[in-house]
């Protein structure tokens, strides 16, 4: 049990190292030094050299990386040369927004998609199933930058149920906070609902053909009980995998929706720092996203053991 878990974590750390290395390398490949970019065209060569030295960019790449890494493991991701704010502080400030958005979108998508998948799988190719499939195809093919404005138009502008844009902090009351987050969360969730529904529907239909489902019904168990207590869990592998991957992805990239709804999240931070060529912030944010992404996926991998006892067995054997 312990050994496979440790080796899984070891592999994850390796991935994080490689990603951060790639980030340092990519930034040095971009034309012009960071100092030139920050100081602008008019800067004197002396000023550029001085800033490069201050940022440590005059050192060889490996030394730059080691310096950066040494600080990063201590939680110091540097200071933005553009805003002067420490990068770690900027991330911590914006993380709750993105995290809340991602988690809300994911929970919403899970609840809705499980219900839809169960409704679909009860009778595949029935009218209900085909209607759900049609809706899910639409969700899947409508990207957030179209769904977002549409939702804003209908529910915020026309119906006035939600604020149009902006974010109210959790500390200012949970009601307005949830209300403000709901519409963007729905915009993100639509695609997820469709993807989750597809995966779970297919797996459920497969499971419902298994002998043990017939055996449970022969025991006199009701259809709903068989679905919830016998079929759902063994059908949830692909769903858990997908949800895990998407949670990681969402934490790193709700860029579009954050911009649309003017939400002060990580995606917005990343987008602005790319525009202002804030190398240090981009590096820090990307590294952070990589760690979260890999961390979530590791957790998902380890969670298979909870879903299927046979994996525990194989792992210990």
């Amino acid at each position: 049990m312990v050994l496979p878990v440790l080796s899984r974590i070891g592999r994850s750390l390796l991935v994080v190292l490689l990603v951060t290395m790639a980030v340092v390398l990519l930034m040095s490949l971009a034309p012009g030094s960071a100092a030139e970019v920050i100081l602008g065209e008019a800067a004197t060569p002396e000023a550029v050299a001085a800033l490069n030295a201050k940022l440590g960019l005059d050192q060889p790449l490996w030394a730059q990386y080691l310096n950066w890494l040494g600080d990063a493991v201590r939680g110091d991701l540097g200071e933005s040369p553009v805003t002067g704010q420490p990068v770690t502080e900027a991330i911590v400030e914006r993380l709750p927004v993105t995290l809340q958005l991602a988690v809300m979108a994911l929970l919403l998508a899970l609840v809705v998609s499980v219900l839809l998948a169960v409704a679909s799988a009860v009778r595949p190719n029935s009218l209900v199933d085909r209607a759900i499939n049609a809706v899910s195809s639409v969700f899947l093919s409508v990207p957030a930058f179209i769904a977002g404005p549409l939702l804003i138009y209908v529910f915020a502008l026309q119906l006035g149920w939600f604020p149009v844009t902006g974010w109210s902090r959790l500390s200012d009351g949970i009601g307005p906070n949830l209300l403000g987050a709901l519409l963007p969360a729905i915009a993100i969730a639509l695609t997820e609902i469709a993807a989750f529904h597809r995966v779970l529907r297919a797996d459920l239909i497969g499971t419902l053909r298994e002998d043990f489902v017939g055996a449970a019904r022969a025991k006199g168990m009701s259809g709903a009980y068989v679905m919830l207590r016998h079929a759902l869990r063994p059908s949830s592998f692909s769903l858990v995998t997908l949800a895990g991957i998407n949670l990681g992805r969402l934490i790193g990239g709700t860029v579009i929706v954050e911009s649309l709804f003017a939400l002060p999240g990580l995606g917005q931070l990343l987008a602005t720092s790319i525009v202002t060529r804030d190398v240090v912030t981009v590096q820090g944010v990307v590294a952070f996203i990589a760690v979260v992404y890999v961390g979530v996926n590791t957790a998902v991998d380890l969670s298979y053991r909870l879903i299927d006892p046979r994996i525990r067995k194989v792992a210990t054997a």
């Binding site: 055996a215 025991k219 006892p309």
Partner: protein, 338 residues
């Protein structure tokens, strides 16, 4: 038999729509299962045994059309409202399936699989159900029941799993147990233990048992009556001794002749009669065995045979039945009471 049969199948048809046409898996079968008795159902693979069992248990896919009657204690399971049928399956009729490796849920502990029927159908309390589960496991010969309850199915051997399946089936004390090829997926040595176990619990509990197998040897000596199925129809039915000692239908006769010896050690396949089953979507008119029978005449196809009494508690659907007492060569099953 004196009392009314526990299960009466009347003109049962189960036709399943497929891409290749309508499979007439069960076609006009009438059969009784007597109280506290064991009925064997034999016939080669594809003859419709499992479909018949599934029709009784309501386990056929929705695209299967059933007609006729399946009377359980006088009530027709095919037309009973869903709520009332739910009172019967699991509680009064239980089933054991072919492959215990696939009929237990791999991600649910034995304890819940064993107790959920009692808890949900009988309203037994958790601790009471647990105690009952321990008793059941001992009854079916599972050692160390305490530990087994905590196990997942993959932690048990095939034979142990099938014992657990039988315990599950017995949990609500059914009046009728249907065992569909309960040992086909098991090792030969284990097969016999499981079959003897089934017969023992059937007798101990005064329960009725339907033992389905493609293998004559499984049924011989362990059942009171036997029904022989061929291509969705019933060929012959009667007291096991009588059918095995003096088969009257040409198919049963050929089957017995093709079986090396009705010896419990052997797992004799039934595929030794030349030819194969007719196309289930387009069976021949009249008797379905005509393509493989040596004694075919026109009246076998039109009008074809109907089920007729050929001896004491012995029926056969054959136009030219084998003469009584024409014993197929290597008989072993009927001779010893075992």
């Amino acid at each position: 038999m004196s009392a009314e049969p526990v299960l009466q199948v009347r003109n049962l048809r189960a036709h399943i729509g497929t891409a290749r046409g309508v499979v007439r898996a069960v076609d006009d079968v009438s059969l009784d299962v007597d109280r506290a008795q064991a009925l064997g159902v034999v016939g080669e693979s594809g003859s419709g045994k499992s479909v018949m069992a599934k029709a009784v248990m309501g386990l056929l896919p929705p695209r299967a059309a059933c007609s006729g009657e399946v009377l359980f204690e006088g009530r027709d399971l095919l037309s009973l409202p869903r709520k009332e049928r739910a009172q019967i399956w699991g509680k009064q009729i239980a089933m054991v399936f072919q492959d215990p490796g696939r009929s237990l849920n791999p991600v649910v502990r034995i304890e819940r699989q064993l107790t959920e029927g009692m808890r949900r159908l009988l309203g037994t309390s958790r601790s009471e159900a647990r105690g009952k589960a321990l008793e059941l496991l001992s009854e079916v010969g599972v050692p160390d029941p305490e530990r087994r309850l905590r196990n997942y199915p993959h932690e048990l051997s095939g034979g142990m799993r099938q014992r657990v399946m039988i315990a599950i089936a017995l949990a609500c004390e059914p009046d009728l147990l249907i065992a569909d090829e309960p040992t086909t997926a098991l090792d030969v040595t284990i097969q016999r233990q499981i079959l003897d176990l089934l017969r023992r619990v059937q007798r101990d509990r005064g329960m009725s048992l339907v033992l389905i197998s493609h293998d004559l040897a499984v049924v011989a000596g362990r059942t009171d009556r036997v029904a022989v199925m061929y291509a969705g129809r019933l060929a012959e039915v009667g007291a096991t001794r009588s059918v095995f000692d003096s088969p009257r239908h040409r198919y049963t006769h050929a089957l017995l002749e093709a079986t090396p010896a009705l010896d419990h050690e052997r797992n004799a396949p039934l595929r030794l009669i030349p030819g194969s089953l007719p196309d289930p979507t387009d069976p021949p008119p009249g008797c379905r065995f005509t393509a493989r029978c040596a004694q075919v005449e026109d009246d076998c196809r039109d009008p074809g045979p109907s089920m007729a009494l050929v001896g004491a508690d012995h029926y056969a659907a054959c136009t030219r039945p084998v003469a009584a007492g024409d014993v197929p060569l290597p008989v072993g099953g009927g001779s010893g009471g075992r």
